[in-house]
């Protein structure tokens, strides 16, 4: 392989207009030399701007580098030049899947399958996307307050659930019952530290058999509760709570 | 001492029925309780022993109505008459605005009356209250009994009323003299309040 790279590099040096930049950049990409691969591919694209394969190559390199937006741009250019370019369809199918746009991902993967019916990679990806689309509508990933992930609960000062879910071990929903019982906890915590001259409270940690809880106050009189099993180390709970509190603040700001 | 609330225009006075055991203090309150319209009175509280003797006190709150723009309330208390209850008598007497001394008119209770009247003066003195300044009314109860058993009001007057306070003959069981007595004491207490000689106020 390294022999190929040397040979192709020499060829490209002696003839800058050669199409040998295509196998060279691909070889560099596979070896993980992404910067070198990118330089070679960019050179090729500027010399052959109408060559769809060159744009497809650029898309692969940029995707590997994590430059999602630029990769998408490169593959889109490739498809504009050559709508039946399988690599570009597969690339865009993958990017759209990562971004959560399952419908668009499905369209690209189906196009790829039509062009190359025995592409096992594309087939596996298509199955995964179809499976996800068949499931009931799921909330946006990473937003624990819209009801998805259990074990995080946000409660207002009047004992009402603002967001999140808290489940009992039998799977029944304890959110509303807990919210009602937790109303006033932040007021009581504040009163306790005020009367004992301890400044401002910032976290309340609770250990029960089989479940540990942390509570914080993302906003005045709003209580965030995080419940985790004993497998989560005690010291990690405050960190998780801090993160959830930040998310809760952002989420409430978004709600207005 | 009566409590006067200028903001809410309210006056509350404490009136105590004093006298020897079984002279009819509780009967006075029971009669009043039975005759005053329900809206004007509270529950009558009686702390009595099994044999109906007053153990600690009887208590009856009354709403007199509006006087000079003040909602006026009376708290009627009785003290236990038996000699050995002096500690409780002193407690009930605390802060009294006026006293009705209920004497037992029966001749055989003459000494008990004197002893109790003496005891009243001692207990007031102990609280730093001058007997002469405290509104007091005398009631000669059980005047309905056969004449050979009771002393006349005049006899009792000679023995007890050396300060010439208002006095009334009564039959508390049947109500005669009960309201006259209370009315007279109410007037004395409120007149004193009107003169600004007593009352804790804002």
């Amino acid at each position: 392989m390294s022999d190929d790279i040397q040979t192709w590099s020499a060829q490209l040096a002696s003839d800058p207009g050669s199409l040998v930049f295509l196998p060279l950049a691909e070889a560099l990409r596979r070896r993980g030399q992404l910067d070198a691969a990118l330089a070679v591919a960019q050179g090729g694209v500027s010399r052959y701007p109408e060559l769809a394969d060159a744009h497809d190559l650029l898309g692969r390199i940029r995707s590997d580098r994590g430059d999602t937006a630029l990769a998408q741009e490169a593959w889109t250019n490739a498809l504009r030049l050559q709508p039946d370019l399988v690599g570009a369809h597969k690339g865009l199918g993958y990017l759209c899947y990562r971004a959560g746009d399952l419908q668009k991902s499905l369209r690209h993967l189906e196009s790829a399958m039509e062009l190359v019916p025995d592409d096992s990679q594309a087939q596996a990806a298509l199955q995964r996307v179809r499976g996800l689309l068949a499931q009931p509508l799921r909330p946006a990933v990473g937003d624990p307050f819209e009801g998805g992930e259990a074990g995080t609960l946000l409660v207002d000062s009047q004992g009402r659930r603002l967001g999140g879910v808290m489940l009992r071990s039998d799977g029944t929903d304890a959110s509303d019952a807990m919210a009602a019982e937790l109303s006033g906890v932040s007021r009581e915590a504040r009163r306790t530290v005020r009367l004992l001259g301890l400044g401002e409270w910032h976290s309340l940690y609770l250990e029960t058999p089989g479940m540990n809880l942390v509570m914080q106050e993302p906003r005045s009189e709003t209580l965030l509760v995080l419940a985790r099993g004993p497998e989560v180390p005690v010291g990690r709970l405050p960190l998780l709570a801090d993160r959830a509190t930040t998310l809760a603040r952002r989420w409430m700001d978004k709600l207005g | 001492m009566s409590l006067v609330n200028f903001a809410a225009r309210e006056i509350t006075c404490k009136l105590v029925y004093y006298g020897p055991g079984r002279s009819g203090k509780t009967s006075n309150l029971q009669y009043i309780h039975g005759r005053v319209p329900e809206a004007r009175r509270g529950r009558m509280v009686s702390l009595a022993t099994e044999s109906d003797r007053t153990l600690f006190f009887d208590f009856l709150p009354l709403e007199l109505g509006t006087i000079s723009g003040f909602t006026t309330r009376f708290q009627l208390y009785t003290v236990p008459g038996q000699v050995y209850y002096n500690a409780t008598r002193r407690l009930v007497l605390q802060g009294a605005d006026g006293v009705v001394f209920v004497a037992d008119s029966q001749a055989r209770r003459f000494d008990d009356n004197l002893e109790s009247f003496q005891n009243l003066q001692e207990n007031l003195l102990e609280q730093g209250i001058d007997v002469r300044s405290l509104p007091t009314v005398l009631q000669y109860n059980k005047q309905d009994l056969p004449a050979e058993l009771v002393l006349t009001p005049a006899d009792l007057e000679d023995a007890l009323n050396f300060r010439s306070v208002p006095s009334f003959s009564a039959d508390a069981l049947h109500g005669s003299g009960v309201f006259e007595t209370l009315k007279a004491l109410s007037a004395l207490v409120l007149k004193r309040l009107a003169a600004g000689n007593s009352g804790e106020s804002v």
């Binding site: - | 006067v4 009175r41 509270g42 804790e200």
Partner: protein, 153 residues
């Protein structure tokens, strides 16, 4: 909440919110009501005050009989509610607090915030001013009318 003297209202309100007490009665040691919260009829308040003052007075006497140190607060724990009864000193003399509370709070909290209220009351008590005549000159006519109305004669 009702208070005979306005300066009592602040400390009492704080006590009520902090302690979650159900009923509160402040009275003089003679059983005269100073302030109350939670009672429905003013006449019931008087009976409660008379009884509360009586209990404090009699336990005080009992303490005198039994030993050198006086009793502090008196607590009676019932199944659903409890009664807390405590005498205290104010610049206006000896007063008594009667507090009825339930399971939503505890004796410790009642005691804690009661002590704070006593401090607050001491600080906010105004200097006593001269007594003044309470009733108008012509009150006698009204008194007689009231007595007639009350006693029906």
């Amino acid at each position: 909440m009702r208070a005979i003297e306005p300066w009592v209202e602040g400390p009492l309100t704080t006590f009520l919110t902090e302690s979650s007490a159900r009923l509160v009665l402040l009275m003089t040691s003679a059983g005269q009501v100073i302030a109350q919260h939670g009672f429905t009829r003013s006449l019931d308040v008087m009976a409660a005050a008379a009884l509360g003052a009586g209990i404090v007075a009699s336990t005080g006497e009992l303490a005198k009989l039994l030993g050198p140190s006086p009793f502090g607060a008196l607590v009676h724990q019932g199944t659903n509610q409890a009664v807390f009864l405590a005498p205290f000193t104010t610049p206006r003399g000896r007063w008594i607090g009667l507090v009825v509370y339930g399971k939503e709070t505890s004796l410790g909290l009642i005691q804690l915030f009661f002590n704070r209220m006593v401090e607050d009351l001491s600080q906010s008590a105004p200097v006593e001013h001269a007594r003044r005549a309470v009733l108008a000159e012509n009150f006698e006519h009204e008194l007689n009318a009231s007595l007639r109305a009350l006693f029906g004669r």
